[in-house]
């Protein structure tokens, strides 16, 4: 027995744990959101707030239990360490009263967690209110489609990778998948929900603060799972209605020759095999292709390739040059477009405001 007990009484994880807790508690607020833009600690909806509260509540209880166990362990390691000359310890086989005590106290702590848990489970899965904005969500490898009913349900607006909602209006997302499993997650709007073929899952929440929120697929869905992102835009005032109105307009007509050439390449070329551009009324959504995102108002979107690149001419050219290089496994093949073709297509897509 060469070990010196006193060097072993020190547990290196204790300060680490304390420090970690401190960072966590200090880490909230405006700066926090700027440093960690995809954080769960900046709730911006009723759903997210409820989850945030529940997390912090269990965290505090958990940290207290943890500190107690670590403290006790540290004390015992020091107090009862072997020292030469120690008498043999008393041979105790158990203590029914103590064992009952440490059955019931954890049970009480768990009951204190169980009650708000069950309440929240039912709270967060209630029926959506009658005035809720219904958004249909479809997950595909590796992008998101969002559909809005307009004109009293007669027409449908289809967009991709950017879901728009209005502050203060309850939202219900009705989600399903076109291929494998995905999971919808915009941390600041609340918890995730899996997106499953042949099943419609819902999330209900009411956005509380305007802004553009980051989101991303959370269920492993293949090669580019890491690149299946999205934005959620929460509008103030009548911003949402204006956006929806604009989306339900047909794609704008080209105004100059380069754009005209771009349009021809898109609508007559390979693009149309997979992508839809709507030139008529929203109900006239007779489509050429439905494999890829609807491009009718592509130019207004903030990002491209499912939220991984800023939507600008440079990135768009890079994407068109070789999509699978930007996004491994992407279904959009390298079409071997010439540089000038890419220039025309970019010019056209950017006019789709």
């Amino acid at each position: 027995m060469k070990s010196r007990a006193k060097s072993s009484g020190y547990s290196p994880w204790k300060p680490a744990f304390g420090l970690a807790l401190l960072t966590l508690l200090a880490g909230c607020g405006e700066d926090h959101l700027q440093t960690y833009p995809q954080t769960t600690f900046a709730p911006a909806s009723d759903f997210a707030r409820e989850l945030d509260w529940l997390f912090k509540y269990t965290l505090v209880l958990g940290v207290l239990v943890g500190l107690f166990v670590f403290g006790l362990l540290g004390y015992i390691m020091w107090r009862f360490r072997y020292q030469p000359g120690n008498p043999e310890p008393e041979q105790v086989h158990g203590n029914a009263r103590l064992e009952l005590l440490w059955t019931f106290i954890p049970a009480l702590i768990l009951a204190a967690i169980a009650v708000p848990t069950v309440r929240s489970i039912f709270n967060t899965q209630r029926e959506a209110p009658a005035n809720a904005l219904i958004v249909e969500v479809r997950g595909y490898q590796w992008w998101w489609e969002f559909r809005y009913a307009v004109n009293g349900g007669r027409d449908t607006v289809v967009t991709a990778n950017e879901v728009h909602v209005a502050v203060g209006t309850p939202v219900q997302l009705r989600m399903t998948s076109g291929d494998v499993l995905h999971s919808f997650w915009v941390p600041q709007m609340g918890g995730k929900r899996d997106v499953i073929p042949n099943k419609v899952n819902t999330i209900n929440f009411t956005p509380e603060e305007p802004g553009v929120y980051l989101g991303q697929c959370a269920e492993f869905c293949g090669d580019s799972h890491a690149l299946m992102k999205m934005r959620l835009v929460a509008h103030e005032g009548d911003g949402f209605q204006r956006w929806l109105q604009n989306e339900s307009e047909p794609a704008p007509a080209p105004r100059d020759s380069a754009v005209m050439l771009g349009k021809q390449l898109v609508t007559k070329g390979a693009c149309a095999g997979c992508h839809t551009l709507r030139y008529g009324a929203a109900k006239d959504s007779a489509t050429l292709g439905r494999t890829g995102p609807n491009l009718t108002h592509f130019g207004r979107r903030r990002t491209l390739a499912a939220g991984i690149l800023e939507n600008n001419a440079e990135n768009l050219s890079k994407w068109l040059k070789n999509p699978p290089e930007v996004k491994p496994g992407a279904l959009m093949p390298n079409l071997n477009l010439k540089d000038e073709e890419i220039r025309y297509i970019v010019a056209y897509l950017q006019t789709l405001q």
Partner: protein, 645 residues
């Protein structure tokens, strides 16, 4: 006790402890100790392989937008890391202890079915090779160890990757089920006279619970992967939504296996810790009965919590509430165990050997994993945590902080019994410190990464989300773990040959395996001991005062051991341990080559299905399948009529 009278004199490890030597003797062995050692070294090997796979993952994530490996290779690596660690490293490493220690603890000469035991090992050996082959040829499973349908269907995954998953795990699972049946029978039927169930050493108890879980849970998994195999190879539609199947059925089946699997990996560790802590505290286990019942309860409740992996699936509030509450219930027996270990240490005289340090670290780290586990049971807030790095942190505190640290405690503890020599304590302490720093550096930041929005199973991440430095820390922690694992492996190799000689009972422990020489003779016990107590060596040694742990404490701090005699200072030339079983008139089953041939036949049957489509095209390798089936049939026949068994 006359039957345990050999405790006093330490034996030098006999030069040739077994009657046979050479490679052939290892291939045909049916000795549980040799099979245990085969399991031990194989699983250490796969532990290193799984570690290398982890290093691929962590190196890819060391900086944002890294191009170290491709997305597909990354997906293979995180899948293969889990499969290797769970099925090829940790389960077999616990199996090494089941094999080596359980018969010794219950006073038996071997397991109930020695050839079946050899078959379990060889089936695992070939299944492991198959998965390893997939990994090195970059055809490894790439859908996660959970393999959620429908991405596993041929439509989305035409290559051989998922076939390796299905067939590799089918083989490895077969090995576990065979071993499980063997150990249940062994423990129930082959205990020494007087060893009632509630006198069984706690480790053996935990093994019994684990084996029941393995046999039942693996059966569920076998059904699931058989269905998946049929979907992929024979055109059924169990999990294919495009053709009317239901991908959620897979999730239910998978987690009905997957959650008990977590307990399969942790309950044996509970047993190891419950042997290590009393030994080095020199106090009996606090609340033995409650420890047993708590573990039975954990195993039983483990069957009723599977959907807590599926809170985001949309099962509705009733199911969510049920599984949240059942999951919380498990925290109660787990908490009891933690406090009973603390109660065992309380008032003890604690010696911080490397083994004990790992055991104490286990309590601390497993507590952290348990706390984050309770946080997951809170279904609504779990919707933020699930599928993020928070869960990665949680499972690594449970599997690394729990299973791996506990296994290290067990290895340092029982190594002297396996090899007759002690592991180096100085290297052991370097290993311990490095492991503690490394694991917390690697896994603690992941809690934050998850809550700051990083999903798991992502091969890349952008640099502007604040995740960079925590990922860097985590990767550095992984490198440190790799480094100290090297120290550990060096310690194993060196100590097995040059370590200080251990003697029968270097730690002054209480159970029967410490009453016989280290390493034990091939027949284990000359006479089957008669058991009157839970701790035969502490409570039955007539030469000692009753109720006092065996072995007086040496006042001299230079003593390596707390056992009766200072160890490493004398070597008895021991004629007795050199006597063969035959000399002593003990019948042992003769070696057999049918287990390895039968295992190879099984490999052929399953392998022929994979090689059908290694290059994407379907080749009909019916002759390989037929050869495999014939080999299996012939071996079973010959096995049944093998003389001497």
């Amino acid at each position: 006790m006359a039957s345990t009278a050999t405790v006093a004199a330490p034996h030098a490890p006999a030069a040739a402890p077994h009657t046979e030597t050479g490679v052939w003797s290892w291939i045909t062995t049916v000795d549980h100790k040799r099979i245990g050692i085969l399991y031990f070294f194989s699983s250490i090997f796969y532990f290193l392989v799984g570690g290398i796979e982890a290093l691929f993952i962590r190196t890819q994530l060391i900086v944002p937008e890294n191009n170290f490996i491709s997305a597909d290779l990354y997906n293979q690596m995180f899948t293969q890391h889990a499969l290797t660690m769970i099925f090829l490293a940790l389960m077999p490493l616990t199996a090494a202890f089941f094999n080596y220690i359980v018969p010794l603890q219950i006073g038996a000469r071997d397991v109930a079915f020695p050839r079946l035991n050899a078959l379990s090992y060889w089936v695992y050996f070939f299944g492991g090779l198959m998965l390893l082959f997939a990994a090195v040829t970059k055809m490894a499973p790439n859908v996660g160890w959970f393999a959620y349908a429908p991405i596993t269907e041929r439509q989305y995954n035409p290559g051989p990757n998922v076939d390796f998953y299905v067939l590799g795990l089918q083989i490895v699972g077969l090995s576990s089920i065979l071993a499980g049946i063997n150990f249940i029978v062994t423990i129930l039927n082959m205990r020494a006279p007087g060893m009632r169930l509630m006198r069984m050493p706690i480790f053996t108890w935990m093994v019994l619970i684990t084996q029941v879980l393995i046999v039942t849970a693996m059966a569920v998994f076998t059904i699931a992967i058989t269905q998946l195999m049929f979907d992929r190879m024979f055109g059924t539609t169990f999990f294919d939504p495009a053709r009317g199947g239901d991908p959620l059925v897979w999730q239910h089946l998978f987690w009905m296996f997957g959650h008990p699997e977590v307990y399969i990996l942790i309950i044996p560790i509970f047993g190891m810790i419950s042997e290590v802590i009393p030994t080095f505290s020199r106090k009996p286990l606090f609340g033995y009965n409650v420890m047993v019942f708590a573990s039975v309860l954990i195993g039983w409740l483990g069957w009723g919590v599977w959907s807590h992996h599926m809170f985001a699936v949309g099962l509705g509030p009733i199911a969510d509430a049920f599984f949240a509450l059942s999951t919380m219930l498990i925290a109660i027996p787990t908490g009891i165990k933690i406090f009973n270990w603390i109660g065992t240490m309380w008032g003890g005289s604690i010696r911080f050997t490397t083994s004990m340090l790992f055991a104490v670290a286990f309590i601390a780290m497993f507590t952290l994993g348990g706390i984050s586990g309770v946080m997951h049971s809170v279904a609504p807030s779990d919707l933020q945590q699930t599928d993020t790095y928070f869960v990665v942190a949680h499972i690594h505190y449970v599997f690394f902080g729990g299973t791996v640290l506990g296994l290290f405690a067990g290895i340092y503890f029982w190594f002297p019994k396996l090899f007759g020599r002690l592991m180096d304590e100085k290297l052991g302490k370097i290993h311990w410190v490095g492991t503690m720093v490394g694991m917390n550096l690697a896994f603690f930041p992941m809690h934050y990464l998850g809550m700051y929005g990083q999903p798991r199973r992502t091969f890349t991440y952008p640099g502007d989300l604040g995740w960079n430095w925590m990922n860097l820390m985590s990767t550095l922690g992984a490198y440190l773990l790799a480094l100290v694992t090297g120290v550990f492996v060096w310690n194993v190799i060196r100590s097995a040959r040059k370590g200080a000689i251990a003697g029968d009972n270097p730690w002054g422990a209480a159970t029967l395996e410490w009453s016989i020489p280290s390493p034990p003779p091939v027949y284990n016990f000359r006479e089957i001991p008669i058991v009157h107590s839970r701790m035969p060596l502490w409570e039955e040694d007539a030469s000692k005062e009753p109720g006092i742990p065996h072995g007086k404490v040496a006042e001299d701090v230079n003593a390596i051991t707390v056992g009766g005699t200072q160890v490493g200072e004398m070597e008895y030339p021991d004629a007795e341990s050199k006597m063969s079983a035959h000399d002593l008139g003990i019948h042992l089953p003769p070696p057999s080559y049918w287990p390895i041939i039968l295992a190879f036949g099984i490999l052929l049957v399953f392998g022929s299905l994979i090689f059908r489509n290694l290059d994407g095209a379907l080749h009909n390798l019916w002759y390989l399948s037929v050869a495999g089936v014939l080999l299996v049939a012939v071996s079973i026949f010959k096995w049944a009529f093998e003389p001497g068994h």
